[in-house]
């Protein structure tokens, strides 16, 4: 019983914290973000397992986490209004080469972040070559280039 309660509590706490910190918190933008995720994993490990290092306990914890995950995705399919609350929504940041500054500020995305995504994924060189930049639910920035005329 203990393991199920622990896993459920940790799942809810992590979901809440990462939804509060916003889209960008989970995106592995810098090496340090990646290190931070590893450290967060370490910090939750002890609370998940307690003092019981048995295989059964680990199995129960994993099954509980995945069951909640599957359960929530089924709930989302059934109740579409849950989707945005659990998984966030995408947001257009650049439209026809024009940065939507307020949205970028609120999402903590800089011009440099968009340009980096533009040349890394599309080989673009300037902002005016971007038709749309979309901040995805995952925290990544997708770039749609303007068509060459």
């Amino acid at each position: 019983m203990d393991a199920v309660l622990r896993a459920s509590a940790i799942y809810l706490v992590l979901l809440l914290i990462f939804r509060i910190t916003g889209k960008r918190s989970l995106a592995q933008i810098t090496t340090f973000d990646f290190v931070l995720l590893l450290v967060i994993g370490e910090a939750t490990q002890q609370a998940l397992l307690g003092n019981d290092f048995s295989v059964i306990n680990a199995a129960i914890v994993i099954v509980t986490l995945l069951t909640i995950d599957v359960g929530l995705s089924l709930a989302q399919a059934r109740f579409p209004r849950l989707g945005p609350w659990l998984d966030d929504v995408p947001l257009v940041l650049v439209e026809d080469g024009q940065m939507l500054q307020r949205r970028m500020d609120k999402s903590r995305i800089s011009e440099a972040d968009i340009l980096q995504a533009a040349w890394a994924t599309q080989g673009l060189e300037r902002m005016d070559q971007i038709k749309y930049a979309v901040l995805e639910r995952t925290g990544e920035v997708s770039i749609i280039p303007k068509q060459e005329s």
């Binding site: 945005p84 966030d88 929504v89 995408p90 257009v92 439209e95």
Partner: protein, 166 residues
């Protein structure tokens, strides 16, 4: 699926704006949690440190807030000249001892005996004019409010309460 410009995109500006507001409140809550943790609301810290007793007989220093299976410590200071025939005897309620996993008592008691709903710890002291300080370390095992009682045998009773977080 919604249409945003030429994009089929699930953008929802109303939701996004609401979310920004909730996130700002959430960030403030996170700062408050960190400050509260620094102050000791979730464990050790100035707001958590408490003591019970009186200087004439015995003072117990304990933490108001502990965490389930975290680290807890109870420091008992017995005033000088409280030893009778070289023995200092204080008790803790079995109710409190049932809510903790005792890790160690330093110095170790020379005798432990049970007396109804109390457990008596006996320490032999060479010099009764010196105060005795005993440190009891434990892992809190209870959840929620945990009540305890402590006192010298034939002395006044003192009670204390702890809040044990999950």
């Amino acid at each position: 699926m919604r249409r945003v410009g030429d994009l089929d995109l699930d953008q929802d500006l109303t939701f996004e704006k609401r979310q920004w507001k909730v996130q700002r409140v959430g960030w403030a809550a996170m700062v408050l949690i960190v400050v509260a943790a620094l102050l000791g609301v979730f464990g050790s810290g100035p707001l958590s440190a408490a003591s019970v007793g009186d200087n004439a007989t015995l003072v117990a220093h304990y933490q108001r807030f502990v965490r389930h299976q975290g680290q807890g410590e109870l420091v008992v200071k017995v005033a000088p000249n409280e030893a009778a025939e070289g023995r200092v005897e204080f008790w803790l309620t079995t109710e409190f001892l049932g809510e903790i996993d005792l890790q160690g008592i330093s110095p170790e008691p020379d005798e432990v005996r049970s007396a109804g709903d109390r457990q008596i710890f006996v320490f032999l002291v060479d010099d009764p004019t010196c105060p005795l300080e005993v440190s009891i370390s434990y892992f809190p095992n209870g959840l929620g409010r945990v009540s305890g009682g402590i006192g010298l045998v034939d002395g006044p009773d003192f009670s204390f309460n702890q809040l044990s977080y999950p």
